[in-house]
């Protein structure tokens, strides 16, 4: 039995690690099907052009080529476009513009990377060689990459049949109330800011293998997905018209997602459909350069924020107007990101009584933009937490005091914000106090002085944030435009000899579910951790679940497991009562044992399981044999993790290089199952946040050519770019799920970027700087320093 505690709260080492550290993981590109062919996707190298003709004859005649397909082949079979899973409505109530997103470009290409044709050959090299022989005639059209250009009158239209490039023009909040508050405000502080466009860059490039069995007419798709059932539903029902019982989607080990592997991508449909055509498996693996122009990007918001304040520095109202870049087509969840995942969080941790936000989403000749780690919440957090420091700067108030004064107090929960969300729990004073202590905020000025003596500009920045995750109540998201439910499912199978297999609808691609969920089940059922296995990622094995994103796996998927285990225990009690000739009401379950209250009589869960499968002496009139239960869980609300991040930087005046010296995170993620894994999630999120703040940005030229589309050019955070991090937690429990858990996957990426930029601006305080847009690159910082040369004596 358990010699070591492996239940809730233990930093159990991960089950999944053994295969990964031995190189025995099973990622999609590691899979090879018998007799498989290889696909290369021919993509547009220009941002906007009319396709005049595609001559495939030379490619088809090339050595090893099995088939070449273009949009004409798909259209001949009425293959549908790539669907969007979320519908936003305009201010006037009309639905958003939702232009056709063809699987292979039809008539026009609309971004660099737009797929035009697929070449299938015996080997990957042969397919690559043949793809070079495709003769495509284009008529180039003017392209646009920036949202500001795209909304100008007379701008080139990304979609010819649209009246403008606007996808939707949406708003939330009480405009009249906000306008009235602004009219009576003592002071208004305004800030323009950009949330830079990012490329997710999970280390495993996307890959997909389509397989078709002509005998059964079954299709199988192996794919790098965070949510295999969502892919099966979208691709089967909307694109390829394959009935779901004929379509199996397998998402095996997946090498990171960060949102970019949520969406249904054209390549998945291409390989699945092609496999049916060539009657052989078709495998496609993305190159990294190809990923830069075909994986959905993240962020790309351009906002104006204004806060109305009274004479004492209390917030009266917030007004925000955001332009956001959708790219050339709508990716699966793109419309939800700037609206219901971002604008609804504009209260942040503050009791701002009136908020109005408008969001205009715009098509451009760039790769589609969708959710990337945090999805909307990093954007609103960056806006608010930069605004806090700018208010402090403009009014002369202390930035900590300003925040504390306007915090939602700990006794105000549940707290209804003016922008739809109701926070269930939180304690922002405590996480702030704790982080200030860990970061030695009070000792900072001494460190600043010391750094100045060495010619360095040192700065410190804070960010206090809340986010909404654990997505989400189906009824609510349905009202908000989601075209799917967002419950989760778990099937708990107790085997005859007492070991357990759990089938979950969530998907693990780095989060360690095989460990955390096994700890949860071990804790609740009293079965040893080593006797529990978690199965995910195969629609032929697991019940219909919605997958992993929005830090939802434990809060929603774990809650479904608890519900299923509750059913196991209820049934187990009936069996135990029968075996021990007691009343069901007198049976207690704890630590893996069913006991008769007030006696020494008990049965282990293993004995109960064996009885359930060998029901010789069994209440068969009352209950069925077996010990296996399924539960679906649809949460009552989002969960609301929050906390405080503090960043300390040093700037080299000669080079403009910003170095993060210390990073402190104190987060409230609710109850913690495995502290080691939670810390790892937060460290990884913070690394991506620091990457956004200092290093990363997808840069397009005006026409829509991606300038930095490789790891040579796009600056990913490396080991020597990042600091050691101090990660701590303070806990308030979620009030509406059975475990009190909130979620930890995204908090790092949400809370950290403004802490970094606030520190950079603080370091540059003597240079007349009020705001620096991300990334705070050496070039940008060097220019600021050199435009405002000050003697070091200013320190």
């Amino acid at each position: 039995m358990n010699a070591v505690f492996e239940g809730i709260g233990a930093s159990v080492r991960r089950k999944e690690d053994l295969r990964f550290i031995n190189g025995r993981g099973n990622y999609t590109d590691d899979i090879n099907r018998p007799n498989q062919t290889h696909a290369i996707i021919k993509r547009s190298d220009r941002p906007h052009a009319r396709i005049l003709s595609i001559d495939t004859s030379a490619a088809k005649a090339a050595p090893g080529v099995v088939a070449v397909f273009t949009h004409l082949d798909l259209e001949a079979e009425a293959i549908g476009g790539v669907p969007c899973g979320w519908q936003i409505h305009n201010k006037d109530g009309s639905p958003m513009a939702e232009p056709m997103h063809p699987v292979l470009a039809s008539g026009k290409v609309r971004h660099v990377g737009d797929p035009i044709a697929v070449v299938i050959a015996e080997t990957r090299q042969q397919a690559k060689d043949a793809a070079e022989l495709l003769d495509i005639a284009f008529e180039d059209l003017p392209g646009i990459s920036s949202v500001r250009d795209a909304i100008k009158p007379g701008a080139p239209l990304v979609h010819d049949d649209a009246v403008s490039n606007t996808c939707f023009d949406w708003h939330i909040g009480d405009k009249a109330l906000v306008d009235a508050a602004f009219a009576r405000a003592t002071r208004i502080v305004k800030l323009d800011l950009i949330n830079n466009r990012l490329v997710p860059n999970a280390m495993e490039p996307r890959a997909a293998i389509g397989d078709y069995d002509p005998m059964s007419q079954d299709y199988t798709l192996y794919t790098t997905s965070q949510n295999p059932h969502v892919i099966r539903l979208l691709m089967g029902a909307f694109v390829l018209h394959i009935p779901e019982h004929r379509l199996r989607v397998v998402a095996p080990d997946v090498g990171g997602g960060f949102g970019s592997k949520i969406y249904h991508y054209a390549e998945e449909a291409i390989v699945t459909w092609s496999a049916g055509k060539v009657k052989r498996p078709v495998k496609w693996t993305c190159d990294r350069s190809e990923a830069f122009i075909s994986d959905a990007h993240g962020r790309d918001h351009d906002s104006v924020a204004e806060m109305a304040l009274d004479a004492e520095g209390n917030f009266l109202a917030l007004r925000v107007s955001t332009l956001c870049n959708m790219g050339a087509y709508l990716s699966t969840f793109a419309p939800a990101v700037p609206t219901y995942l971002s604008a609804t969080l504009l209260a942040g941790v503050y009791k701002t009584p009136a908020i109005y936000a408008e969001v205009r989403a715009v098509f451009t000749n760039t790769v589609p933009v969708d959710a990337y780690r945090g999805a909307g919440r990093p954007e609103s957090t960056f806006l608010l937490e930069r605004l806090m420091d700018v208010i402090a700067h403009d009014t002369g108030m202390d930035r900590i005091a300003l925040r504390r004064q306007n915090f939602i107090p700990a006794d105000a929960f549940p707290y209804q914000t003016p922008v739809a969300l109701q926070y269930d729990s939180g304690d922002y004073q405590t996480t702030l106090t704790s982080a200030l202590k860990v970061a030695d905020w009070d000792g900072f000025e001494a460190r600043r002085t010391k750094a100045a003596a060495q010619g360095k500009l040192r700065g410190i920045g804070v960010s206090t944030y809340v986010e909404a995750c654990g997505i989400a109540p189906s009824k609510l998201v349905g009202q908000l435009g989601a075209r799917a439910g967002l419950y989760e499912v778990a099937q708990v199978r107790v085997h005859p000899t007492g070991s357990v297999t759990v089938f979950t609808g969530t998907h693990s691609h780095g989060q360690g579910h095989e460990t955390t969920f096994a700890q949860l089940v071990s804790d609740q059922l009293g079965i040893p951790f080593s006797q529990i296995d978690i199965v995910h990622g195969d629609t032929n094995k697991i019940p219909f679940g919605m997958g992993t994103y929005g830090s939802r796996s434990l809060a929603v998927g774990g809650s479904a497991m608890v519900k299923a285990m509750d059913k196991i225990i209820v049934k187990g009690k009936k069996i135990a009562a029968h075996l021990m000739e007691a009343s069901v009401e007198d049976i207690e379950f704890a630590a893996g044992k069913f006991s008769v209250t007030g006696t020494d009589k008990s049965k282990t869960i293993g004995e109960i399981a064996l009885t359930a499968y060998v029901p010789h002496n069994y209440p068969i009139e009352e209950i069925e044999p077996g010990l296996e239960e399924t539960a679906f869980y649809d949460p009552a609300n989002f969960t609301f993790p929050g906390g405080c991040h503090i960043c300390e930087v040093e700037i080299d005046q000669d080079t403009g290089v910003v170095q993060v010296i210390n990073f402190t995170a104190v987060d409230d993620v609710g109850r913690i199952i495995n502290p080691m894994i939670v810390e790892g999630q937060i460290q990884g999120g913070v690394a991506q946040g620091i990457g956004q703040a200092l290093l990363e940005c997808a840069i397009y030229d005006e026409q829509g050519q991606l300038v930095n589309g490789s790891f040579m050019d796009y600056q990913m955070p490396r080991a020597d770019d990042l600091p050691n991090m101090s990660v701590g937690t303070e806990t308030t429990l979620c009030t509406h799920n059975p475990l009190g858990v909130k979620g930890c996957g995204e908090v790092g990426a949400i809370g950290s970027p403004p802490a970094v930029i606030n520190a950079v601006v603080d370091a540059l305080r003597n240079y007349g700087v009020r705001h620096v847009d991300m990334p705070a690159s050496p070039q940008k910082i060097w220019a600021i320093i050199n435009a405002n040369k000050l003697p070091m004596a200013a320190e």
Binding site: R13, I21, N22, M203, G512, M712, D720
Partner: protein, 164 residues
């Protein structure tokens, strides 16, 4: 097609390859050693690092033909035949230095070379600079740095050197 003869994880192979075949393609496609990964196409990410004659090499930046006559060690050959882990593998697991696992094989192979080639000791800075050629998107490197520091004394049979 030309032939290449090499030893991989102690076993000899003679394989026909195209002139343009990369070492990583030979390992993954001809020898089915899929533990070595490909994460980019510009030799930046380090997911494909293996040891060639005892030195870490990005196997996407070496032609298979260049590996003729060499002794290659991949992640699959690291643990002992009885499953006993290499100290670096053990340190990665113990310190939660991996999440999705995709960069891990290359990261482990690089880290072993880094530790082996620095018997005098490694500071945190040395480790961060030494791993600059390996990208990880999940961990933020914090625990990878810890793991490498923890493996150093085990691999050198010494007490841990004082942290910087």
């Amino acid at each position: 097609m030309p032939q290449v003869t090499l030893k991989v994880n102690g076993k000899s192979h003679t394989v026909e390859v195209e002139g343009r075949t990369l070492l990583v393609e030979l390992l993954r496609e001809k020898l089915a050693l899929t533990g070595t990964h490909v994460g980019c196409d510009t030799s930046q990410c380090g997911a494909c690092v293996v040891h060639v004659d005892g030195v870490s090499v990005k196997s996407c930046a070496m032609l298979a033909l260049q590996a003729d006559g060499t002794d290659v060690l991949t992640i699959e050959g690291l643990a002992a035949a009885d499953g006993t882990l290499h100290p670096m593998q053990e340190a990665f697991r113990e310190n939660h230095a991996l999440q999705c696992g995709f960069c891990t094989p290359g990261m482990v192979m690089s880290a072993i070379d880094l530790v082996t080639s620095h018997p005098e000791g490694l500071s945190e800075n040395d480790i961060r600079h030494g791993l600059e050629g390996n990208l990880c998107r999940c961990t933020g490197y914090h625990n990878i740095v810890k793991a490498v520091a923890a493996a150093w004394p085990v691999m050198h049979g010494k007490e841990a050197v004082a942290a910087e």
